[in-house]
Symmetry: C2
Subunit: 245 residues, 2 copies
Amino acid sequence: MKRVKLVVAYDGTAYHGWQIQPGAPTIEGELNRALGALLKEEIQVIGASRTDSGVHALCNVAVFDTDTCIPAEKIAYALNQRLPEDIKIQGSEEVEPDFHPRHCDSRKTYEYRILNAQFPLPTQRLYAHFTYVPLDVERMKQAARYLTGEHDFKSFCSTAVVVESTVRTIYQLTVERQQNEIIIQVCGNGFLYNMVRIIAGTLMEVGRGSMEPERVKEILDAKERKAAGPTAPACGLTLVKYEFL
Amino acid sequence: MKRVKLVVAYDGTAYHGWQIQPGAPTIEGELNRALGALLKEEIQVIGASRTDSGVHALCNVAVFDTDTCIPAEKIAYALNQRLPEDIKIQGSEEVEPDFHPRHCDSRKTYEYRILNAQFPLPTQRLYAHFTYVPLDVERMKQAARYLTGEHDFKSFCSTAVVVESTVRTIYQLTVERQQNEIIIQVCGNGFLYNMVRIIAGTLMEVGRGSMEPERVKEILDAKERKAAGPTAPACGLTLVKYEFL
């Protein structure tokens, strides 16, 4: 028996998120199916980040246990043959039997992309949220400063979920314009449900001028979801980096 | 009666190319349909570049004649409401009644993207050709130098098509690596059928080491299609710039 870690990239457009659910295509479901067919065992992967419906990833992480004699490093290649075009393994390796991707310190980086132009662009429609309302990146940068560091992010968490603590640390939060795209990059030790999308939605409110940058401090203090801006659409969000410390 | 020019962006994945054909979705067909519905006239657009099946564009050009009283500049917005997500107008304006996008001097720029990595990446699968074979960009740059300038590109033209002259001018041809992507950018006064894809396929042969860079000069001299490398897949190709001189 060995534990194998997979780095998983996917285009989330066609999936109902990571987590398996009956009657709907999910990343977890596709991985279990393809691994079962490859290894002739019943496999249930454990995912690191249970991304939402429509969210993308370059490097999500999953582990599973197997009795196979296929070397762990070869599994990536063999598995890709059995996965659809929109899910591809980026690497596989054996890890310690007690390695659990959600029970160890990690640093994740998400990117939220906004196409801020006069007209939507077809080749970016799946990976960036489009808005023609002009956004002021300098204001968004000012607002972002209030979110860096350790804070109670309760206002930036969808209320549906109950968690023990809503305190998280954001190591870095950058807002940058590249031609007609605005890229928000957030690196932290963990993220609450919808947290990055609510941050993006709030920064967009600031960028369009309907909220002052300083308001973000008050939103943190309010500790309630309705104080923050709307949840930005899923398609703009991609998990771009995952480090285990 | 006025003549209106449209700048058209599209994701070519789902289309059988630009040119209208019965029973298959095409960019031209979609434009005629949407314009007809909007203007209540029978419209037949004239396209500038009849891109192949699966090829993308940021800025192809089409013109049409209409009796509508809708101002030309507003047509882009109204038309986008009637077009699918993978075709979007980037601007519309009135032009001289005799302006014909294929009968005037122009400068087009195409980009061919290659994902040169160990594993395919789902979020790039529609807009870059994937190859895990390591490509040497320096060799590709050397080969590209032979193609710049005015040449008879007969060897870089698919044989199916008969044209008056196969002489074209490439103003600039660059090959650049950006992380794990290789981007070939070609700017010229016109391109023969499949010319950019055959250039890309040939440069890849050079990059992988199965052809010397100097061989490209001999390929030009041979003036026959079979001397050049294979036609690279359509998905990597995007029309990125269109200038009328």
